[in-house]
C-alpha cells in the first residue's frame, strides 16, 4: 500500500548570504525543472541574510510551478502582519505559497526588538501554534466569493461573508477580519520542523507538512506514526499531514562514494540528518525509505546549493523519475496540489451552512 504513496521532494536554496536574488531565482528554476514540490529559504532575525519571504516573493514572477516556502518567525512579529504577508505571497505566486513557522529563542534576538526577554522554547512554540491558528482563521475570514461587485445595490463586497476572528491567545489578540482577501489556496501551506519536542505538538495540531530527523527508515516511520496519532488526537485527519524526512546532503563529487563499513552504500551520520554520498546513493536511500512507507518524502538541504542542487535534480531526481518513483512534471498549479492536499473548506462557510450562528 505504502509503495504507491506519491513521493514528495523539497529543497532548501539558502546558502551563504546573498542580497541579490539571482542565485535564488536560478536555484528555484532548477528545482522547478526537477518537478520538486517546493523550495524553502531559511531565515531568522539574527543570521546574516535578507528577509526570506521578500526574496521568495521576488522569485515568484520568475517561476511558474514550484512551491515557495520561506521561514517566518512568530516570536517578535505580529501575527496579523505575518498572516497578511503569507497570504500575499500566495496571491503573487498564484497559489504556490507556504511558510515554515519558527520561533526565536535567544536573548540576542530579543534585544533586537526590546519588547520582551527571551523565553523557553515550550512557551514560544505554544505561541507559534497560536499564531498559526490565528493566521488560518484570518485566511478564512473572507469567504470565497465575498467580492460580489453588485452594481444594483452598490456593494463591492457581501459583508455577511466577512468574519471577525476575535482570536484570544496567551500573548496576543486579533480582532480581524483580514485585510487581504482569502488567498488562492484557501490557506497557504504551513510547515513546521517537528524535530524538537515543543515543536512536535504544534506540528501535530497545525502543520500541513512536518519535518522529522531519523537515521533509519524504522526510526522515521515511528516518528511519522507518532505525528499522525497526535494529529488524529487533535481531531485532524492524519492524511492531511505530510511527513518529510529532513536530510542535510553533501553529494561530494562522485556518482557513489564507497565508505568503509557501508560497502558502496551511502553514509547517514551526524545528528541523524547528515547524508554523504553520490546522487545515486541518495536515490537509493530515498527509494528504500519510500518503498518501506517510512515517510511521505524528503526535505533536502544541500550543503553547497549551487553544486549539490544540480546533482540532486539531474542525478538523484532523474534516477527516481526513471524508476517511476517521482513525477516528471507538475500536474497541478498550486503547492497544495503538488502535495496532494485539498483546498481547505472555510470554517465560517461551514458554520453558516450548518445553521449555527456566526
Amino acid at each position: 500500500m505504502s509503495a504507491t504513496r506519491p513521493l514528495h521532494l523539497a529543497a532548501e536554496i539558502g546558502g551563504p548570504p546573498r542580497y541579490d536574488a539571482r542565485s535564488h531565482i536560478a536555484l528555484a528554476r532548477l528545482a522547478e525543472g526537477g518537478a520538486l514540490d517546493f523550495v524553502t529559504l531559511n531565515d531568522s532575525f539574527a543570521r546574516p541574510g535578507p528577509d526570506a519571504l521578500a526574496v521568495l516573493a521576488h522569485v515568484a514572477p520568475a517561476t511558474t510551478r514550484i512551491g515557495l516556502v520561506p521561514t517566518v518567525t512568530t516570536t517578535h512579529t505580529e501575527p496579523f502582519h505575518v498572516s497578511s504577508a503569507v497570504a500575499t505571497l500566495d496571491w503573487v505566486s498564484k497559489g504556490r505559497a507556504g511558510w515554515q513557522a519558527d520561533v526565536s529563542t535567544t536573548e540576542a534576538e530579543a534585544r533586537l526588538f526590546g519588547r520582551r526577554p527571551a523565553a523557553p522554547a515550550s512557551t514560544l512554540w505554544q505561541e507559534a501554534g497560536e499564531a498559526a491558528d490565528a493566521g488560518a482563521r484570518l485566511w478564512d475570514s473572507w469567504e470565497d466569493g465575498a467580492e460580489i461587485r453588485d452594481v444594483a445595490t452598490g456593494r463591492f463586497i457581501d459583508r455577511d461573508k466577512l468574519h471577525y476572528v476575535d482570536f484570544e491567545g496567551s500573548t496576543f489578540s486579533v480582532r480581524g477580519p483580514a485585510i487581504v482577501p482569502r488567498p488562492p489556496q484557501g490557506r497557504p501551506v504551513t510547515v513546521i520542523d517537528a524535530t524538537s519536542g515543543p515543536a512536535r505538538e504544534a506540528a501535530a495540531r497545525h502543520a500541513d507538512v512536518a519535518y522529522v530527523r531519523a537515521t533509519s527508515p524504522e526510526q522515521a516511520a515511528a516518528l511519522r506514526d507518532e505525528l499522525r496519532r497526535s494529529a488524529a488526537a487533535h481531531g485532524r485527519d492524519p492524511d492531511s499531514l505530510r511527513v518529510l524526512a529532513a536530510l542535510t546532503v553533501d553529494l561530494g563529487d562522485a556518482e557513489t562514494t564507497p565508505e568503509p563499513g557501508l560497502g558502496s552504500g551511502p553514509q547517514l551520520a551526524g545528528r541523524g540528518t547528515y547524508f554523504r554520498g553520490g546522487p545515486v546513493d541518495l536515490a537509493e536511500v530515498i527509494t528504500q525509505w519510500h518503498r518501506g512507507g517510512a515517510v511521505d518524502g524528503f526535505h533536502l538541504t544541500p550543503i553547497t546549493p549551487e553544486r549539490d542542487l544540480e546533482r540532486i535534480v539531474n542525478g538523484t531526481v532523474a534516477l527516481l523519475q526513471h524508476r517511476s518513483l517521482f513525477r516528471t512534471f507538475h500536474p497541478g498549479g498550486t503547492l497544495r496540489e503538488h502535495l496532494g492536499l485539498g483546498r481547505p473548506a472555510n470554517r465560517y462557510t461551514l458554520t453558516s451552512t450548518s445553521g449555527a450562528t456566526s
Binding site: 521578500a54 505580529e78 503573487v92 452598490g154 463591492f156 463586497i157 466577512l162 487581504v180
Partner: protein, 429 residues
C-alpha cells in the same frame, strides 16, 4: 523648463475607484499590479505607490461594503514587482505605530537590495485606536506620541542602515530612546541607495514638521493651485531649521486626471466618473460620514436633512473623521439651497477632489503650471480604473510633457534617489 516628477498610485481601497465599470478588473490579482507598474515604467515614472490600511473600515458598526476593499500586503507585492520592472521606484506605505524598527528596517533594506536601489517607505501613523485591535500593542498613541514614535522609528532605522560601513563591514548597533531600547547586529549590508527614500503623508502641524525634519518626499492632498502654493511655501520654509535645502524635500500631491479628445469631452467623461463614484448609496454614506447619524431613510434625490450633525459620533471607524462636521454641513446646505441640489448632487459637487480635466494638451500645460508656480514638485496620479487607469495618461500626456521638455524621456539613473534628484545620504558611522 522645471522638470516634474511623476508617480502612480495603485487604485486601492477607496471610493475613487470605479469598480462597476466593465473595464475594471481584479484589485488583488498580481496581473493588475504588474500591468499598472509596467505602464508607469513605460511612462518613465519616478515611482509606483501602494497605500495601506490595517483594518477594514466600519460604518454604523458594520463592515463598510460600498468601496473597494481588500488588498495585499505592500512590501510583498513590491518585492514581486521588482522582478518584472527595472527602473521604477517602488514605494510601500507602512505604519510606524504597529511595526518595530528592526524588522521593518530589514524588510525595507531587503527591498532596496532586490530592486537594486528603488525602495521607498511612506511613513504613516494611525489616526485611531480601532486599528490597534489587530496588534499586540493594542490601543493607540496620541497624535503627539505617534509622531515622536514615528520620528524615532525613522532615525532608528537609519542607525541600523548605517551600522554597515559603505565598504561592507557590519558593526554592532545600540539605540536607546523614548520608544525603543534595542541593540545587536543588523543582518543586511548597506543597500544600493544607502537609505531607502522616506515619504510622509499627513497634514497636521506635527506631520509637516516631521516631514520637514525627516522626509525626502511629501504626499499631500493639496491639489488646487492656491492651496498647493500655500502648502508648498509653508513646508519648504520649515526645512531651514533642520539644515536642509528646499530641493531636499519633494512635494507631490495626489491628483486625478480625466482626459478627452477635447476639453468638453473630458468634462463629460469626468461627470460620468463622478456619477459612478457617488452612487445613490454612496451619497447617503457620504452624508452619514459628515452627520455622524444613520440617514438611511433619506432619499438621495431629495433635500438635505434638517437635523444637525452629531459631532461626537463614532459612526465612522477606520477613516479620518470630518474635521468640523457642523461647518461642513452648513457649507453643504448653503450650496444645496443656492443651486437647488439634491443630496446626491450636493455630494457630487462638494466632494470633488481637484482633478486635471481636459484634452492632453490642456492637462500637460496645467501640470507644468503647477510646477512652474511652486504649487508642486510633481504629482502622484490616482487612477480611477484597475488596471488600465494609467494607459491614456502614459500614451497621450507623457509624450507631450517629454516634447515640451518638462519630463524625462529616459531614465538617467537606476535608483529612485537618482530619479528624484536626491543625493545619497552621508554615512554616519
Amino acid at each position: 523648463m522645471k522638470q516634474m516628477h511623476l508617480a502612480a498610485h495603485f487604485p486601492g481601497v477607496n471610493s475613487t475607484t470605479v469598480w462597476a465599470d466593465p473595464r475594471s478588473r481584479s484589485q488583488i490579482d498580481f496581473t493588475s499590479f504588474e500591468h499598472l507598474a509596467r505602464t508607469a515604467e513605460r511612462g518613465k515614472f519616478d515611482f509606483f505607490f501602494l497605500a495601506e490600511g490595517l483594518r477594514l473600515r466600519e460604518h454604523n458598526g458594520r463592515i463598510h461594503d460600498l468601496d473597494v476593499v481588500g488588498r495585499p500586503e505592500s512590501l510583498t507585492v513590491l518585492n514581486a514587482l521588482a522582478a518584472v520592472t527595472e527602473r521604477l521606484g517602488l514605494a510601500a506605505t507602512v505604519n510606524a505605530t504597529f511595526n518595530e524598527p528592526y524588522e521593518l528596517a530589514r524588510r525595507l533594506a531587503t527591498l532596496d537590495h532586490l530592486s537594486e536601489g528603488r525602495a521607498a517607505w511612506n511613513v504613516v501613523t494611525s489616526s485611531d485606536a480601532f486599528t490597534g485591535e489587530n496588534f499586540r500593542r493594542g490601543g493607540y498613541l496620541d497624535r503627539a506620541d505617534r509622531y515622536t514614535r514615528a520620528a524615532e522609528f525613522v532615525s532608528t532605522a537609519r542607525e541600523l542602515w548605517d551600522s554597515w560601513t559603505p565598504d561592507g563591514t557590519s558593526r554592532p548597533f545600540a539605540h536607546s530612546g523614548q520608544h525603543f531600547e534595542i541593540s545587536g547586529e543588523f543582518t543586511v549590508p548597506r543597500s544600493p541607495q544607502g537609505h531607502p527614500v522616506v515619504i510622509q503623508a499627513g497634514d497636521s502641524d506635527e506631520g509637516r514638521e516631521f516631514a520637514a525634519s525627516t522626509a525626502d518626499v511629501i504626499f499631500t492632498r493639496h491639489g488646487t493651485l492656491e492651496a498647493g502654493r500655500t502648502f508648498y511655501a509653508d513646508v519648504k520654509a520649515r526645512l531651514k531649521k533642520y539644515g536642509r535645502q528646499p530641493g531636499d524635500l519633494k512635494i507631490m500631491p495626489g491628483v486625478t486626471v480625466v482626459l478627452g479628445g477635447t476639453d468638453e469631452e473630458a468634462q463629460q467623461n469626468a461627470a460620468g466618473i463622478r456619477r459612478q463614484q457617488v452612487s445613490p448609496q454612496n451619497a447617503i454614506l457620504a452624508l452619514e460620514q459628515v452627520w455622524g447619524r444613520d440617514l438611511s431613510s433619506y432619499d438621495p434625490d431629495g433635500p438635505l436633512p434638517s437635523v444637525d450633525p452629531d459631532p461626537g459620533s463614532s459612526l465612522v471607524q477606520g477613516r479620518v473623521r470630518v474635521a468640523d462636521p457642523l461647518a461642513v454641513a452648513a457649507r453643504w446646505r448653503e450650496l444645496s439651497e443656492a443651486k437647488g441640489l439634491s443630496i446626491r448632487q450636493t455630494v457630487i459637487e462638494s466632494t470633488a477632489r481637484q482633478s486635471f480635466i481636459g484634452a492632453p494638451e490642456t492637462v500637460a500645460a496645467e501640470l507644468e503650471k503647477f510646477v512652474a508656480e511652486d504649487a508642486a514638485d510633481g504629482f502622484i496620479l490616482v487612477p480611477h480604473l484597475t488596471p488600465g487607469g494609467l494607459d491614456d495618461f502614459v500614451d497621450r500626456v507623457v509624450p507631450l510633457l517629454q516634447e515640451r521638455g518638462s519630463f524625462r524621456s529616459e531614465y538617467t539613473g537606476s535608483t529612485l534617489r537618482s530619479h528624484l534628484g536626491l543625493t545619497e545620504p552621508v554615512w554616519k558611522g
